[in-house]
């Protein structure tokens, strides 16, 4: 079996199926992506997609309230789900002889959820989600910064919020206003087989697995899906002139965030952005790390990243000062300027060939390493099927990265990483 073999099918109800056999261990990973996320919410009702994800673990017609995890854990399986701007995923890795258990559970909550939803479960999970927000955002050092940064970056020219402007977990006041009816409506609208990709990766027999998938899923009816949100093109998104704010927080080390908006996941610019992020901050020899952390010692840490989002993508540089003395805001601004000078240097001259080569090797090794994890493989296949319409493209990821050349990066930086398109947040120790 070649390492990168896969099969794809589409069931009569529109469910797309990806099968990737890998028999290293007696394990099977089941991964299902629904093409819905926080971007499909409305202002004032944020957090619904994620709250809904929690409700999907609260039982369905044939599965008791805690039955999902109980069934999976009692056979040694590992399960979870996550919500993102563009998608919600659910996944379990099981001993391969229990694969059918996963199909039973996933099909039951897709086909037969509503009858098991109750107000009591809803209130319980709302409370869990509010605590999740407290833990991950409100009681987290720098927790508010990313939210504010996204708000600044994703204001549209007409004053509307772009759907990436609000946090996936939602605002607390919106969570407080969430209702069970809202959750039901969300399910009816988006949780349809024709809005999903089901991937299996691991030890199984493809024809047999496909038969089983048909048995469990094919009688679940499709639905008519709303149109994708209408949004501006990348050139129209983002501030005109730097949009920048200084926040105070209970922190010790000041930090600066800079963000820009690029073309979304799968585009040439996105891969150029991923290479640039690696060149800027992966490893001690990377531009920002070497200069700011190692040589000048003004940064404690620095990280450049690009988010894998579909409509467009946030490219961000986060740099934390090594000290708040003598002047916290002053230190943060020195660091912020130093980051911008490096961005300007890339805009003027691009990276060197040796930087590119090093970044390629880092990314290739990292990709090869990550292929060891079955659940991650399955997730990548679902991602490529959902965002790029072709799961095979998941295997091309390393090639796309390696093909990026220096001029492509320079030209991307010149077009997209200008001061006039930057959103920025600086966090300083509060009173």
């Amino acid at each position: 079996m070649p390492q990168h073999h896969l099969e794809q099918h589409e069931l009569a109800n529109g469910l797309r199926v990806v099968l990737h056999e890998n028999r290293r261990l007696p394990l099977a990973s089941l991964n299902i992506w629904y093409h819905v996320g926080s971007r499909n919410e409305e202002t004032g009702r944020t957090g619904l997609a994620h709250l809904f994800e929690h409700m999907l673990f609260q039982g369905s017609a044939h599965v008791s309230e805690n039955g999902h995890f109980e069934h999976i854990q009692s056979v040694g399986g590992v399960a979870n789900g996550s919500t993102w701007y563009d998608r919600t995923n659910y996944y379990e890795t099981l001993p391969s002889n229990h694969l059918e258990l996963g199909l039973w559970l996933e099909s039951d909550r897709l086909g037969f959820l509503l009858e098991a939803l109750t107000q009591e479960k809803f209130e319980n999970q709302l409370s869990v989600v509010m605590n999740e927000r407290l833990q991950r955002v409100d009681n987290q050092p720098y927790g508010q910064a990313i939210e504010r940064l996204s708000e600044l970056l994703y204001r549209q020219r007409d004053g509307r919020s772009h759907p990436y402007a609000w946090p996936v977990i939602g605002y607390m006041e919106d969570l407080e206003a969430a209702t069970l009816d809202g959750v039901r409506e969300f399910f009816r609208t988006w949780y349809r087989p024709n809005n999903a990709v089901l991937t299996l990766a691991g030890e199984f027999d493809s024809p047999r697995a496909l038969d089983q998938i048909r048995r469990y899923f094919e009688d679940i009816p499709p639905g008519s899906l709303p149109q994708a949100p209408q949004v501006d093109g990348v050139a129209e998104i983002g501030p005109r002139g730097t949009a920048r704010e200084v926040l105070e927080d209970t922190i010790e080390l000041p930090r600066s965030y800079s963000a820009w908006c690029l073309d979304g996941y799968g585009s040439d610019d996105w891969y150029a952005g991923a290479m640039l992020a690696t060149i800027l901050s992966a490893g001690m020899m990377s531009r920002l790390h070497r200069d700011l952390v190692y040589e000048r010692q003004i940064a404690q840490s620095v990280s450049a990243l690009i988010l894998p989002t579909e409509l467009c993508a946030t490219f961000a540089v986060v740099a934390t000062c090594q000290s708040r003395e003598p002047d916290a805001l002053g230190n943060a601004e020195i660091l912020e300027q130093a980051v911008l000078e490096h961005i300007e240097a890339i805009r003027a001259k691009g990276p060197t060939e040796s930087e590119l080569e090093r970044a390629r090797r880092i990314l290739l090794l990292d990709y090869r390493d990550s292929e060891q994890d079955l659940a991650l493989c399955a997730d990548r296949l679902s991602a490529a099927a959902t965002f790029l319409d072709d799961p095979e493209l998941a295997w091309n990821e390393p090639d796309r990265l390696v093909q990026v050349d220096g001029e492509q990066i320079r030209y991307l930086a010149e077009r997209a990483l200008g001061q006039e398109r930057r959103a920025a947040v600086v966090v300083v120790p509060g009173p």
């Binding site: 009692s74 399986g77 002889n97 319980n124 999740e132 050092p141 404690q300 290739l364 994890d373």
Partner: protein, 452 residues
């Protein structure tokens, strides 16, 4: 294309399992090299990757009381300048292989490791060995590291989870080594000198206490030649055992069982971090297996009693878990969670009640079955990567476990009985001796926690 002959699908019951394929821990080799170094190898031929780790003695348990952080400070400098390369030259050599050579330091042992393409194993091993065995501890690199460590210590002062962990450790272990953070504190970090570091490292160069662990696509003899050049040659003159012993790791116990409540005030904090527990057992304790089963039931998996109670029943938290740490000495048993401020007292009471319940009555047969099946069933999942396998070998080396530990582990888990679970809970869980640490707004917490 539905099979017309198939019976109608009955969704009311979970489907039966297919026959299972056994999955044992893969075979590995262990031998003592001429220098005294232990060599552990596990061949995983289909990855085109190798992960190599050289473990050297000198974990944070050995930090002298006034020099807390010495072990991890020393470890962190391995690779930051060697007899052959400056820190930057060293980093460039690693990154040219696409990798990073990273130094580690746990309570029990230190090490240097890297993952690389199998064709790069000679170059990778050279870097790992050079970092571990030939650091030069130049003062410029020491000062650079010192600044970063001081900044990290500052950062933790406003991180609720770090604060809670440190306050709990100090309350339970007092002045004994486990009572200090492995990074040390501001004073100790400023006090550590180059000669402290160099002396600590020199003592750790004891070949008979070093372990080289290589897992992955090892190839016929590439590795062997590299070992001869890079490990054996520099270590031949150090063929001795490591002899340092930590200060006493077991803290003094109060004569009468008593609970203590420690509140660390963070005015205005949005949530309260809780750490609740007491001194646990060493990794090599003979009760370790039933303890693992008991902890799985209590708080070791998502469907544990604690998570079902605090999260799924009461909605107090996003999650709660418990663990017995694996350390050479008696590391902590600790329950950790973050809860809304107004339910901190109620959450503590539920945690205490769950501990008492587990001590007073054995789990049901079904609950025990679930725990045993989970632990045994999840084993292959935890062996997917060469790094997973390498960690398992590191544990064998670090704690001097029997080499058939993983081979026998599933049957030992399966053999654990309800009575054994209750018995180990009685022996190792002490609801009346808990240290309850809360990090949050004291004004809201004091009244809630006062009669615990």
């Amino acid at each position: 294309m539905k099979d017309a002959t198939a019976p109608a699908l009955d969704r009311s019951q979970p489907p039966a399992a297919a026959p299972s394929r056994p999955c044992a821990f893969p075979r590995f080799e262990h031998e003592r090299l001429e220098s005294g170094v232990s060599l552990w190898t596990l061949d995983v031929p289909d990855r085109n990757l190798v992960t190599v780790t050289l473990l050297v003695p000198g974990g944070s348990e050995l930090d002298p009381p006034h020099l807390a952080g010495l072990a991890s400070f020393t470890a962190g400098l391995r690779g930051k300048g060697t007899t052959h390369r400056t820190a930057l030259e060293f980093a460039a050599a690693a990154e040219d292989l696409g990798t990073a050579v990273s130094a580690s330091c746990s309570w029990d042992i230190a090490g240097v490791g890297a993952t690389m393409r199998s064709e790069d194993v000679t170059a990778g091993l050279e870097l790992v060995a050079e970092a571990a065995l030939e650091p030069v501890f130049e003062s410029e690199e020491i000062e650079r590291a010192r600044r970063r460590r001081l900044a990290e210590i500052e950062r933790r002062r406003s991180d609720p989870a770090s604060l809670a962990g440190a306050a709990f450790a100090r309350a339970v272990y007092d002045e004994t080594p486990y009572g200090n953070p492995t990074i040390g504190d501001r004073e100790s970090t400023q006090a550590i000198t180059r000669s402290d570091i160099a002396a600590f490292h020199d003592r750790a160069l004891a070949a008979r206490s070093c372990h080289l662990i290589a897992v992955g696509d090892l190839g016929p003899d590439r590795l062997r030649r590299a070992i001869e050049d890079r490990i054996e040659r520099p270590l031949k003159s150090h063929a001795r055992e490591f002899e340092d012993e930590p200060a006493r790791l077991e803290p003094n116990q109060p004569e009468k069982p008593t609970r203590q409540v420690v509140i660390l005030d963070r005015p205005g904090a949005a949530q309260t971090e809780l750490r609740i527990g007491h001194v646990g057992v060493p990794r090599r304790h003979p009760d370790r297996i039933p303890i693992q089963v008991a902890n799985s039931i209590l708080g070791g998996k998502f469907m544990s009693r604690l998570n079902l109670n605090l999260r799924e029943r009461h909605g107090y938290t996003y999650g709660v878990s418990s663990r017995f740490s694996s350390r050479r000495g008696p590391g902590p048993f600790v329950v950790g969670t973050a809860v809304a401020n107004e339910v901190a007292g109620a959450a503590c009471r539920e945690i205490v009640a769950e501990l008492e319940r587990l001590c007073s009555e054995p789990p049901s047969e079904a609950e025990l079955d679930d725990a045993r099946n989970y632990l045994v069933g999840v084993f292959p999942y935890t062996m997917q990567t060469i790094q997973n396998l390498s960690s398992r070998l590191k544990a064998l080396a670090t704690f001097d476990l029997d080499h058939d530990e993983y081979e026998r582990w599933p049957e030992r888990i399966r053999a654990t009985t309800r009575e054994e679970v209750r018995e180990v809970c009685r022996r190792h869980l002490f609801p009346d001796r808990l240290t309850i640490t809360a990090v949050g707004p004291a004004s809201e917490l004091e009244s809630q926690l006062e009669d615990l």
